[in-house]
Point group: C2
Chain length 164, copies 2
Amino acid sequence: MHNKLEMAQDKFMEGIGKLAESVGVSRFIAQLYAVLYLSDRPLSLDDLVERLKASKGNISLNIRELEKWGGVKNIWVKGSRKDYYEADPDIKKFVLKKIRSGVQKRIGQVTDMMDEFKELINSGNDEMGDEDKMIVKTYHEKLKNIENMKSLADKALMLADKLL
Amino acid sequence: MHNKLEMAQDKFMEGIGKLAESVGVSRFIAQLYAVLYLSDRPLSLDDLVERLKASKGNISLNIRELEKWGGVKNIWVKGSRKDYYEADPDIKKFVLKKIRSGVQKRIGQVTDMMDEFKELINSGNDEMGDEDKMIVKTYHEKLKNIENMKSLADKALMLADKLL
DNA sequence: ATTATCGTTTAGAACGTTATAAACGATAAT
DNA sequence: ATTATCGTTTATAACGTTCTAAACGATAAT
């Protein structure tokens, strides 16, 4: 089967895949979501194998990841032993949630890094020469800039919450 | 030289590198920026080779990329044939600019994809069965969702501009 | 004019990531 | 009880990306 609709779907998947990749999200998982999102019925693992032309193992692995993200849920279909999956139709919610958790994690990482950094530049004050002490001074100023960015990200996060 | 300050710098670079990687930006370029950002003087290619323990070629390549982004600029130092580089001290501006152009590019990509998608699902109406026509109908609704997200991204972009 | 010092380019190596295929365990059908 | 149908796991293969080392061209010094 290679009709217009399937071509359209493929185009959609291609676009979503590229988009996802460019923002650091797995291309494959995004495409998995795309197929399910466009489908008018829940799809089984085998359906997805057929549609994405990928191995069963690969799909099994990635769809469970997608499930963790809350982008898809398992559906029970009467009279079938197979697992069926259905996309969460609210893309906006799902995507923003993903972005949100990503940003939050990163803010945490930066915080940790800065703490370690401060620790290091403050710990060895005794054995430092005057020149080094000057440098430390400039470091503290530079850290302020990072702090500013961090709080900017925090604000952005709050704004995003309102949009959601 | 392996004093406390250098350890602190390394910690900083490590953090910045990880952060960059997680948002789809080259780890190495980010670290390049970090070194220059922390430095109290412009650094030459050889300085960077020494500091980052990377090959000259690699640094040459990536620093020009960083230059394109506007994160760093070439400095002329009296009496030296070398190229020296200095980080743009306004991290916020530099980072937001990068994010901004990224988001904008992606919005464009999504727009293109949607156009092609629409084109395809509208073109073959004649040879379609009733069932396919129904599916096309649901596709149009789903596209609306994407449109919504796109305009959301646009709004976010405008907000970001105000923060800048 | 010759040599030394730069930055750039490029072919190939190293690396991490992701996909595959095959084996496996579990459950349901016969 | 045996066989068939699933989804999962894992060792290996394929892939793209990034790094290096070496060759190179250009410019400045001698």
